[in-house]
């Protein structure tokens, strides 16, 4: 049986060998140069950007090496690129979500909104960033759950980076009784902040009247703390407020409803009670 001749039968052995050599040497240089690019980026940017740039550089270099090797073999690269274009169009339609995630990942990379080890809040999720990849970001939540968030979700939504800045404000909403002396309440709260080792002196703590509530005068007590002390400060301030208010007789009232009972003549009917309309209406 005679096998049909293929293009490979017409390739001289020498060109085959040189093509393999191009492939091997090219791969070697692609790996080395990608590592150099990563090292250069680490020195200037951060590990995350460096890793992604290394990958991008490595894959681009490998594509170039493969094209040169194929060209050496005598394969028509132009035809191949045309076919690859049509193929990539098909793949593009089929993998829109993946591509969207990759492009979103590149935008996130450029924005540098967060980095590995930061604590971020995305929608209802809060957690530590474990990895930032081309398609998704991996988070570990406070209750130790591993969550994968697609880059597209991150780019579309709101991200709060909880660890970007070293200090943050803690707000406590406090309602005191209507007969309280607001000046005295303010002094107590500011003293509490001054005595706490967790509260920063600058920016200074503030007490601001916020509204006349249904049962209380509502105040907003704000102090600045180091971000690591958030939970500690919330607990310390809450217990401090209760302790100091109790000591100084400042009431923290429960929600209350005041009902006025009006003594009425039992012989009067419901329609005679104040506030009820009796007799014919104005239009009659």
């Amino acid at each position: 049986m005679v096998l049909p001749a293929t293009w490979i039968d017409h390739v001289p052995v020498a060109r085959g060998i040189s093509s393999v050599v191009i492939l091997l040497v090219g791969t070697f240089f692609a790996v080395i140069s990608a590592r150099l690019v990563e090292r250069w980026c680490v020195a200037r940017y951060d590990a995350r950007r460096a890793r992604i740039l290394r990958r991008v550089f490595h894959y681009s270099a490998m594509v170039l090496v493969i094209l040169i090797a194929l060209d050496e073999l005598g394969v028509g690269v132009g035809v191949l690129l045309g076919a690859a274009g049509i193929l990539s169009l098909g793949i593009g339609f089929a993998s829109q979500t993946a591509l969207s995630n990759i492009i979103s990942g590149l935008f996130l990379l450029g924005e540098h909104s967060f980095s590995m080890g930061d604590f971020i809040q995305v929608g209802s999720l809060t957690g530590e960033v474990l990895a930032i990849d081309l398609l998704s970001v991996k988070l570990r939540t406070y209750d130790n759950l591993y969550v994968r968030v697609p880059n597209e979700t991150l780019i579309k939504g709101e991200i709060t980076n909880l660890t970007r800045l070293p200090i943050r404000r803690v707000d406590l909403s406090i309602g005191v009784a209507y007969d309280s002396d607001l000046g005295a309440v303010r002094d107590v709260l500011l003293d509490l902040a001054r005595q706490s080792s967790l509260c920063l002196e600058e920016p200074a703590p503030t007490v601001v009247f916020s509204k006349f509530g249904s049962s209380t005068l509502d105040l907003l007590f704000s102090v600045w703390i180091r971000r690591q002390n958030y939970s500690l400060a919330m607990n310390e301030l809450a217990s401090g407020v209760i302790r100091e208010f109790k000591k100084r007789g400042i009431d923290l009232p429960y929600p209350q409803q005041m009902i006025h009972f009006v003594a009425t003549d039992p012989r009067r009917t419901e329609k005679d009670l104040p506030g009820t309309r009796s007799g014919p209406g104005p239009g009659s």
Partner: protein
């Protein structure tokens, strides 16, 4: 007792060395295979340094903050190596200070001593990572806004012009930083806050007591940037090297944010 921080204290096995200084109460217990350290900050009032000895294992300090360092053979003596604060100190003059034009002045700003524990054998000294201030500090933010700036310790100062402290001014655990300000501008400078970059200063024992490098600040005006220098004292023995190496940027940042 100005050398309380320099002398090594021998502690026998099963004994405890106690130190009261400033607001700090400190106990070091030497046990057969470890050193145990306990510390607590007293409320209200400061004390001059007082070293004492007790038996290890007392319940008096059982509830304090504590840590232990195991050793195959615990070294026999302990040193309270003096240190400057581990962060910058932002201090506000009690009265606003206004420096007239063409005037130079030297302010002496105090900061409390920190003690870094070291245990010693006959031939070597082993620094431990226990580093305690003798007074508690509150913290503050120093910067133009809440995005840019640094965390620092906060204090108030009388900004004295005289370096010599009296006995009741806690000379035994206070460190003084001389700040020289040259106002070569045609207008008054108002000093509302001073940021001392203490971690980048050396600590010296001099005639005036414990002092740091001198910080010299020239303000020349005419749109020129202020120049800042750090100069070691002419006479004085270095007792602690700076905690951080500064290439000049920390010092410049500290002072350029000083004045509006």
């Amino acid at each position: 007792m100005s050398d309380w921080w320099e002398n090594p204290y021998g502690v026998a096995l099963g004994d405890a060395l106690t130190l009261e200084v400033g607001e700090l109460d400190f106990v070091a217990e030497r046990l057969p295979s470890e050193w145990n350290f306990f510390w607590n900050y007293r409320m209200g009032g400061v004390t001059q340094p007082r070293v004492g000895r007790k038996t290890a294992g007392s319940a008096d300090w059982a509830h304090w903050s504590r840590c232990r360092y195991p050793f195959r053979d615990p070294p026999g003596s302990l040193v309270f190596a003096p240190q400057l604060a581990d962060r910058p100190l932002v201090t506000k003059p009690v009265m606003p200070l206004l420096v007239p034009p063409a005037e130079s002045l030297t302010l002496w700003i105090s900061s409390p001593l920190w003690c870094r524990l070291e245990v010693r054998t006959e031939d070597r000294s082993i620094p431990l990572d226990l580093d305690l201030p003798v007074l508690r500090f509150s913290e503050t933010w120093f910067g133009p806004d809440t995005l840019n700036g640094d965390l620092a310790y906060a204090s108030t100062t009388r900004a004295r012009m005289n370096p010599y402290l009296t006995r009741d001014e806690w000379i035994d655990f206070r460190i003084q930083t001389p700040v020289i300000i040259h106002n070569e501008e045609a207008q008054v400078i108002r000093i509302e806050r001073l940021n001392l970059p203490l971690p980048t200063c050396g600590l010296y024992l001099a005639e005036e007591g414990l002092i740091t490098d001198t910080l010299v600040w020239h303000r020349t005006g005419h749109g020129q940037k202020a120049s800042v220098e750090r100069i070691p004292p002419v006479r004085g023995r270095l007792v602690a090297s700076p905690r951080q190496v500064d290439n000049g940027s920390i010092l410049t940042r500290a002072f350029t944010r000083l004045f509006d």
